[in-house]
């Protein structure tokens, strides 16, 4: 399957501004960043979480811990995958009593976020879990919503949203398109 892009909905500057705004909202809502831990969902949630943590550190003048989460072990659709690949999970220190911000690139059905919450709770009992996404494309299948959204992008269920990030893809941009054989 090859992704065929049709529309570019976010430019590099839009992504930069969205990350900035989300970071300010996180600080506002959590009254600083003292108890905040940022956790990115693999793959593209990880570079986004690093950008947000860097922005938080700059805003608050303190190091904000960052972790990365592989949710493969928690997926509810394992039986449909031919060869699931489990990558490493790393959470920075104890999350007990912290405010954990889950970061992902696209919020779609909500199933990845459900898996991520299950994974995080296995590491301890955070004070709260919040969700930051770059793009919310709708079509939820679970009662989950994002606390921080870069951009709401209305889509049809058959469309694909591709987030490209410098760290992974060599450029920043968000595209809507479809998959073709």
């Amino acid at each position: 399957m090859v992704f065929k892009e049709r529309v570019k909905v976010m430019e590099e500057a839009d992504i930069r501004r969205a990350v900035q705004r989300i970071s300010h909202e996180i600080v506002e809502r959590n009254k600083g960043a003292a108890d905040v831990v940022v956790v990115g969902i693999r793959t593209r949630g990880v570079p986004l979480s690093l950008r947000i943590a860097k922005a938080l550190s700059a805003i608050e003048g303190m190091e904000v811990p960052v972790g990365r989460l592989d949710i493969t072990m928690y997926r509810d659709d394992l039986h449909t995958m031919s060869q699931p690949v489990v990558k490493e999970t790393h959470l920075p220190g104890d999350i007990e009593g912290r405010n954990v911000i889950i970061v992902d690139d696209v919020l779609f059905t909500g199933r990845s976020v459900r898996s991520a919450m299950d994974a995080i709770i296995d590491f301890g009992r955070p004070a709260s879990i919040q969700l930051a996404v770059l793009v919310d494309r709708g079509h939820r299948e679970l009662p989950i919503r994002a606390d921080y959204v870069g951009k709401n992008v209305p889509t049809s269920p058959g469309e694909k949203v591709k987030v490209a990030l410098e760290e992974v893809d060599g450029e920043d941009g968000v595209y809507i398109g479809c998959e073709e054989e």
């Binding site: 072990m73 699931p84 490493e88 296995d122």
Partner: protein, 311 residues
């Protein structure tokens, strides 16, 4: 029909498959350090440990691995089962199948027994040791342990020392090490070496000659009954010529890794002080065993049946 997945011996795996198992195991080893050491990956799957040979360690390792993945585990030990009443291997297997198990972990004193199960059953078969033939998860956990200690294995040298002839650990281990690009030596009294040359393995009978050239010294368990078979004159002589003691360890490379599949005969193939030395990775092998068996169970049962063959 969708292809079933099994792990019968390391020859089922090419180097890429092995690397995938090792990488997956690395991810799972992190689970073992969490406050809640359990993930839901195999929820609703049932794994049977079918052991026709007593082996508390291997069975417990598979049991812990399956439980950490939330699978249900049944233990079928020969001494407590209807095998004593004369039920055949095949009937036992078919009974398990009728109970709806997803994977059968089998240990059997007869080489090839897991291959029979594969013909009879729909479930995934994992070989946990068959006769003197194969023990693939041991070979994989040994690779994992070596990688943790040494990093890249390509070009490294390992010597298997001791009863190579009767050892399924050595037989699978040699294949796995060769597949990873290691140089493999086998050191034993001539009576404990296989009569047919092992492919790609340099064999010898002088341990002192070999020690300075090795990155890994893999000491095999000496089964006491072999002496009664006349394989070596006395335990004292074996110990004098083939025991890894502190004096021999002193001639080895400073970073040498000492391994043993357990259970050890302290004072026979390995001196007690060596087993407790920082070079010894013997308890690390046990921890690696759980991570490797989690990875193998996950790769065999985690994906869809129609998926590509892992193992």
């Amino acid at each position: 029909m969708a292809e079933r997945r099994h792990l019968l011996d390391v020859d089922d795996l090419d180097r890429e498959d092995m690397e995938r198992v090792l990488d997956t195991a690395r991810s799972f080893s992190e689970v073992l350090h969490r406050p809640i050491k359990k993930v839901p990956s195999l929820r609703g799957k049932t794994v049977v440990n079918l052991f026709y040979e007593s082996s508390t360690r291997t069975r417990m390792s598979f049991e812990v691995a399956a439980k950490r993945l939330s699978a249900d585990v049944l233990n079928f030990n020969v001494s407590t089962s209807s095998v004593e009443k004369g039920e055949s291997f095949k009937d036992t297997a078919l009974t398990l199948e009728a109970m709806g198990v997803d994977a059968v972990v089998v240990r059997h004193p007869v080489a090839g027994a897991p291959w029979l199960l594969r013909q009879w059953l729909q479930a995934a078969i994992l070989n946990a040791g068959d006769g003197m033939h194969a023990h693939p998860t041991q070979a994989l956990l040994d690779l994992f342990t070596m990688q943790e200690r040494l990093g890249e294995l390509q070009g490294r040298t390992i010597a298997f020392v001791g009863d190579i002839l009767h050892s399924r650990v050595a037989r699978s281990g040699i294949k796995a090490c060769r597949a990873m690009g290691m140089k493999v030596l086998a050191v034993a009294p001539p009576t404990l070496l296989p009569p047919v040359a092992l492919e790609g393995v340099v064999t010898g009978s002088d341990l002192d000659d070999v020690i300075p050239h090795c990155d890994v010294l893999y000491m095999l368990r000496i089964q006491m009954e072999r002496q009664k078979e006349g394989r070596f004159p006395s335990l004292e002589e074996y110990t004098r010529l083939y025991q890894l003691n502190m004096q021999r360890l002193g001639k080895a490379r400073p970073q040498v890794v000492v391994m043993h599949p357990g259970p050890m005969n302290r004072g026979v193939e390995i001196a007690a002080e060596v087993a407790d030395a920082p070079h010894a990775a013997i308890t690390a092998q046990v921890s690696a065993g759980v991570a490797i068996r989690m990875a193998v169970l996950f790769l065999l049962l985690g994906g869809s049946e129609g998926g590509e063959k892992v193992a």
